[in-house]
């Protein structure tokens, strides 16, 4: 128990469109059975980090519901636990979290009261597996002040300018750090996972607060890059951020590839999530499933192709679902046609509904009808 964990789950992003109307990005459903934050939480528990705080802010209801019990990730211990710290008004402060550093500062009591020497800070919107202890190990070996986990996105077609771009020297020390630059001069991007000594973090946060600085990246990493020893730790395995519609869509579609499924689902360690107690998926006559992921509780009567169906989805007779993502608890009436869409959770689509997006512009379908009169 060398470290405590803090998961920054406050983020919102206009580029994810209507999908974040009702939930934080960290609560977005991923790969049929999971939510984005499950990956960071599972990494924490698999790294034997037992005291973990989650800092939500924006649209936290869906996230709080997901975190209503900590037992699914094996937290909730006498020594440790999962703490959800939404912003609160206090005697000294009645602001929301004004940035990531401010979010940490407003919970500085939690950090001060811990006894573990290190803090692992992780974003709640990454899809990846990582043993944080390996990062910590390197942090200690390098005698670093801060270690930033990064990955190389050269092989992907993701828009690099939406990330923090790093330049490293041959010793992997970070010599330059540019947040969301106009032009990305390298394809090494920060994945938003940091290791820092707890006392050092307290000192930095208190200083930021005195100087009215609120952002951990801009006001700590970028500002201190020359002064403090900030090292990089390279993550060589799969990592995706899901905070745009395009990246969210493609990350889900990645799970149609066997190697990615095997990596997340079959190889040690497992990813955990809240258990929903849904029955097995049911395929009635008329089902035709091609290259698709289907989750528990679904009842299928139609044709599904290159798609990801989340839990508890009903697909009516003679429907075609193609290249689409259907989120949790959606009802799609008979004779509907859905292509290149993301259908928002709890939607009810009347029979004969038609929605078609394109591969370059995935359509977000939000349709509320009363289900039980259909």
């Amino acid at each position: 128990m060398k470290a405590i964990g803090i998961i920054l789950a406050g983020g919102n992003n206009k580029r994810i469109g209507r999908l974040s109307d009702k939930r934080a990005i960290s609560a977005l459903p991923i790969a049929g059975s999971y939510r984005a934050i499950d990956f960071a939480l599972s990494n924490m528990t698999n790294s034997k980090i037992s005291r973990v705080a989650v800092l939500p802010q924006f649209n936290a209801r869906s996230l709080n519901e997901h975190l209503s019990s900590s037992k699914w990730w094996d937290f909730g211990r006498k020594q440790g636990g999962l703490y959800v710290f939404t912003p609160t008004q206090t005697k000294d402060n009645n602001f929301w979290y004004q940035g990531t550093a401010d979010a940490l500062y407003q919970n500085i009591d939690f950090i001060k009261k811990s006894h573990e020497p290190y803090v692992i800070i992780a974003a709640g919107d990454g899809v990846y597996k990582l043993d944080y202890n390996a990062v910590l190990q390197k942090h200690i070996e390098k005698n670093a002040d801060i270690t930033v986990v990064y990955t190389n996105l050269k092989e992907t077609d993701d828009d690099l300018t939406r990330f923090g771009i790093l330049k490293l020297d041959e010793d992997e020390r970070i010599v330059d750090f540019e947040e969301k630059p106009l032009v990305a001069e390298s394809s090494d991007v920060s994945i938003g996972v940091y290791v820092i000594r707890r006392r050092h973090l307290i000192e930095i946060l208190e200083r930021c607060a005195r100087e009215d600085r609120y952002d951990f990246v801009k006001d700590v990493l970028v500002r201190y890059k020359g002064v403090r020893k900030i090292y990089g730790y390279k993550l060589d395995s799969y990592w995706r951020n899901i905070s745009t519609i395009d990246s969210y869509y493609r990350t889900n579609m990645d799970f149609l590839k066997k190697d990615i499924r095997d990596y997340f689902f079959k190889e040690y360690p497992d990813v955990y999530s809240k258990v929903d107690d849904l029955p097995p998926a049911k395929y009635n006559a008329g089902s035709d499933i091609k290259n698709s992921i289907i989750s528990s509780g679904c009842i299928i009567n139609g044709k599904i192709e290159n798609s990801v169906l989340f839990k508890d989805v009903y697909i009516g007779n003679n429907c075609t679902i193609k290249n689409s993502i259907i989120l949790n608890n959606v009802y799609i009436g008979d004779d509907s046609y859905i292509e290149n869409c993301i259908v928002e959770s709890r939607d009810t689509l009347r029979p004969g509904t038609n929605y078609v997006g394109t591969n370059d512009e995935i359509k977000i379908v939000v349709e509320k009808n009363v289900r039980y009169i259909l």
């Binding site: 999971y34 037992k71 689902f265 999530s273 998926a281 035709d288 992921i293």
Partner: protein, 420 residues
């Protein structure tokens, strides 16, 4: 002081020997059902859905898998500070050490457990039926009728009634007489083996009959109380109730789940069935897969074809394989080109490439004709069947087998390979 209005005692110690190789390594209540469930999930879920939060589970035969499954009761919300689920195995005593010799004897040996909760009522449940039942309604009936004992009954078809223990009641449903498997039935109300007792009555009877060898509820306790004049009521249960005691009835009950609107519906929001799932991730169907009339559990990967089957978690059906009218349990693999027809494949089985199950004309099983019937192929947990063999009907296989076990690559109908 600790006090519970009603606690449940769940009898889960039986082998269920008529399930053949399915129960060679685990007790019947731990046998998988409906893809992701185990038989014991049904009474356990019924308990918590009925508001019973204190359950003693009596185990005896091969309890390991049952113990692992139940744990501290988390999946059923039975992890409680006061009450919750307690596994009750037979134990050594200073004067004598007995196994559980009968259903009532098992309960008698756990008087101390019941005493601790000072219950007013005790429900006695079996761990081997598939049903959804609100025990609270039965308790209401029990209280309303001022009964000392209420037993649940189920109306069976008249022509099958002679296979059951029957209850003859008056017009108010008060029990008058019992008949055990009579050749000419006078009633079609079968006892379901589910009882609610006033605790003091139960305790009294158990102590009075403590020296009865093989003390059993149906044979000893109930007749004793009846003779003594205790008011016994019959609660007529009208929902779905399925005995899965034989391989054929087990297979049929599973197959019923894949009907368009199954009589036993797992998809209702109300009265959910809970289970311990260690596999969370979704299932995958490849571009060449075919599926019709199936229920498929988490993590299954289908590259071949599945029809009218119940597929467990983490099952792989490889390219070109065909599974039809079968039950395939968690972690099993049907390799490329294999054909599986009307089979029950237990957990972690490997069916070799191009191997075919369920071929040829039916022939009675030579090893145990009564158990392995109905044309089924039954493959026990952890078995391996090599590639390119042809296997007939009414066959049982358990253990790791190689090509040498199949002369000419054939296992004829009615044959068995049993390797424990």
């Amino acid at each position: 002081m600790i006090k519970k209005e009603m606690i449940a005692m769940l009898l889960a110690g039986g082998q269920g020997s008529r399930l053949g190789v399915l129960t060679s390594r685990l007790a019947k209540p731990a046998v998988a059902f409906g893809g992701k469930y185990k038989i014991i999930d049904f009474p356990l879920s019924n308990c918590i859905n009925s508001g019973i939060d204190t359950v003693g589970v009596l185990t005896q035969y091969r309890p390991l898998r049952l113990n692992q499954h139940i744990g501290i009761g988390i999946p059923w919300d039975l992890d409680r500070n006061i009450g919750g689920v307690t596994v009750l195995p037979p134990y050594e005593k200073s004067e004598n050490t007995d196994w559980y010799t009968g259903t009532a004897n098992a309960i008698y040996q756990n008087l101390e457990f019941m005493e601790y909760y000072h219950p007013k009522y005790v429900a006695i449940l079996g761990g081997d039926h598939i049903y959804k039942m609100d025990y609270e309604l039965m308790l209401d009936f029990h209280k309303k009728n001022n009964a000392k004992i209420t037993l649940a009954t189920y109306e069976v078809p008249w022509d099958e009634a002679s296979r059951f223990g029957l209850v003859i009641t008056d017009e108010n449903n008060q029990v008058q007489e019992f008949e055990e498997k009579p050749p000419v039935p006078r009633s079609n109300k079968a006892s379901m083996g589910i009882y609610i007792f006033d605790y003091d009555i139960l305790k009294d009877a158990l102590i009075a009959l403590k020296d009865q060898p093989g003390c059993d509820f149906g044979m000893h306790i109930i007749p004793y109380c009846h003779q003594r004049g205790d008011k016994i009521m019959a609660y007529n249960y009208q929902g779905y109730w399925k005995d899965v005691g034989t391989l054929s009835s087990y297979w049929e009950a599973n197959m019923e789940l894949i009907d368009i609107i199954p009589e036993f519906n797992l998809y209702e929001e109300f009265w959910r069935i809970y289970t311990k799932s260690d596999v969370l991730h979704p299932q995958y169907f490849s571009a060449n897969s075919k599926v019709s009339g199936c229920i498929v559990s988490e993590g299954a990967e289908v590259y071949g074809e599945i029809y009218n089957s119940v597929i467990g978690a983490d099952v792989t059906v490889e390219e070109g394989a065909v599974v039809r009218n079968s039950i395939v349990m968690q972690g099993s693999t049907v390799k490329a080109g294999a054909k599986v027809e009307k089979s029950i494949i237990a957990e972690n089985v490997e069916i070799g490439e191009n191997t075919e199950l369920g071929l040829f004309e039916e022939a009675p099983n030579k090893y145990n004709e009564k158990v392995y019937a109905g044309g089924l192929v039954t493959v026990g947990e952890g078995s391996v069947i090599p590639a390119n063999v042809k296997i007939g009907k009414n066959v049982a296989i358990v253990g790791i087998t190689t090509a040498d076990d199949y002369p000419d690559g054939i296992l004829a109908s009615g044959e068995s390979i049993i390797r424990q």
